[in-house]
């Protein structure tokens, strides 16, 4: 079924998330699309970026001739430091995370369930050596977890599901999902669609989603 609607690319998805991050928040942006979000926060809006390898106040990637080999982010990319930034060790860094001091963490996902369960670290229960990194700590520790991801996998499988089938990262962690098709809140009632790309109908979105979608109450009522 073809519909004539827009599909956001990775940069557009990152830009859409960036819109919703207010100045003054302390944010940790995961590897992949989340990392791109930083480029879409206007310089005038002070958002303080945290990297779990011990950086607060991270700035954008340096010009190639300005690279400091001693300054990388959790994704092992070279970064810069804003005035007001600071360095600390791994235990202090995860104290910030686990202690609930990070306002927002944006992560990628394999699956998000309608109860907020997140699966984003292992693609198979049989994989004996998946790499968890800091995902579990971030998912339980940050004040809010947003996921940014394609709505469906390359094989057309919905990433929004009733219950996760992949190994869980954390229970009930996710409060909002930004996909290339929609912005979806995770509520006690399940998935509530807040926004869709132009040209997409609710029914078409539901067709691509393996869990029931709801419209906000004020649109139902």
């Amino acid at each position: 079924m073809m519909t004539d609607h827009q599909i956001l690319n990775r940069a557009q998805m990152a830009a859409r998330v960036a819109q919703d991050i207010p100045g003054g928040w302390y944010c940790n942006l995961g590897i992949g699309i989340p990392t791109l979000i930083a480029d879409h926060i206007p310089a005038s809006r002070e958002v303080v970026l945290h990297s779990e390898n011990g950086i607060l106040g991270m700035g954008p990637a340096p010009e190639p001739d300005q690279i400091d080999p001693w300054l990388i982010n959790a994704g092992k990319q070279h970064v810069t430091l804003h005035p007001g930034g600071s360095f600390f060790h791994h235990a202090d860094s995860f104290a910030m995370i686990r202690g609930g001091h990070i306002d927002l963490c944006v992560l990628g996902a394999f699956e998000v369930a309608e109860n907020g369960d997140l699966a984003n670290w292992a693609t198979s229960a049989a994989d004996a050596a998946p790499a968890v990194g800091g995902a579990m700590d971030l998912a339980v520790g940050a004040k809010r977890i947003w996921v940014v991801t394609e709505h469906v996998t390359k094989d057309g499988k919905s990433k929004l599901v009733e219950r996760c089938s992949y190994p869980l990262t954390a229970l009930g962690a996710v409060s909002r999902i930004y996909t290339n098709l929609a912005v979806v809140d995770v509520t006690p009632q399940g998935f509530v669609v807040r926004e869709m790309v132009p040209g997409l109908t609710f029914e078409a979105l539901q067709d691509r989603t393996a869990a029931r979608l709801h419209l906000p109450e004020n649109r139902n009522g």
């Binding site: 100045g23 804003h82 104290a95 609930g100």
Partner: protein, 226 residues
């Protein structure tokens, strides 16, 4: 623009509610957030639980807050010290609840609160009066007791320098409980001797990153007395 500086002490203490748990930094006379304590007396919140190493001395600062009848309970390691006269009076009169915690356990419970650790085991206090009624467990042949984290509603902190993001450094033995209390409260209020421009504090030497700090008030208080 992030600017955590507030104009005066009244603004710094705004919203501290009755019944709040308030941490007060400092050890001895060094690193005491005296101006914030005075402002808390002005501010009027009652029925407070105070977390501090000592229970005040003389009739100023913490002792004056207690003397004004505003403190229901104190959690500390060393209530009795030279000049803890107000504490003695109130405690004898049964008007002050006391929880004594070994100093290292107090520090670790505060740090745990800031780090999202709800409880931990420690050997400190095992087999003593302060370990009574606490869960005991053996690890690698040694006995430990379970201690819970100690979070607060408000932390009153004295820093040497702070910037508009709330990054703080302390001065010599003034770091003490200030740096950990800053991490453990829902509302962390810093009185700072000096205000630094953003970027002026060496990123390698920041002790309290701004993420932990809510308000900064500039109080050029001068040296500790006594």
């Amino acid at each position: 623009m992030i600017d955590k500086r507030v104009g005066d002490l009244a603004a710094a203490l705004e919203g501290v509610g009755d019944g709040a748990t308030v941490m007060v930094g400092g050890f001895g006379s060094v690193g005491q957030p005296n101006a914030l304590i005075e402002a808390l007396i002005e501010q009027g919140a009652r029925d407070l639980t105070i977390v501090a190493n000592n229970a005040g001395a003389g009739r100023v600062g913490l002792a004056r807050l207690m003397e004004a009848g505003r403190v229901r309970k104190i959690i500390c390691s060393f209530p009795r010290s030279a000049g803890s006269v107000v504490f003695e009076e109130l405690f004898k009169a049964g008007r002050l609840e006391l929880e004594i915690v070994p100093q290292g356990t107090l520090a670790e419970r505060i740090r745990a609160a800031g780090a999202g650790i709800p409880a931990f085991f420690t050997a400190t206090g095992y087999g003593t009066r302060l370990g009574e009624n606490k869960e005991v467990r053996e690890f690698r042949g040694r006995h430990y007791i379970l201690e819970e984290s100690l979070p607060a509603d408000v932390a009153l902190v004295e820093a040497w320098r702070a910037d508009r993001w709330g990054n703080c450094v302390y001065r010599k033995s003034g770091r003490n409980f200030n740096a950990i209390m800053a991490t453990a409260a829902a509302l962390t209020i810093v009185q700072t001797q000096h205000v630094a421009a953003l970027g002026e504090i060496d990123p390698e030497a920041v002790v309290t990153p701004g993420i932990f700090v809510d308000r900064v008030v500039h109080v050029p208080y001068g040296d500790p007395q006594g």
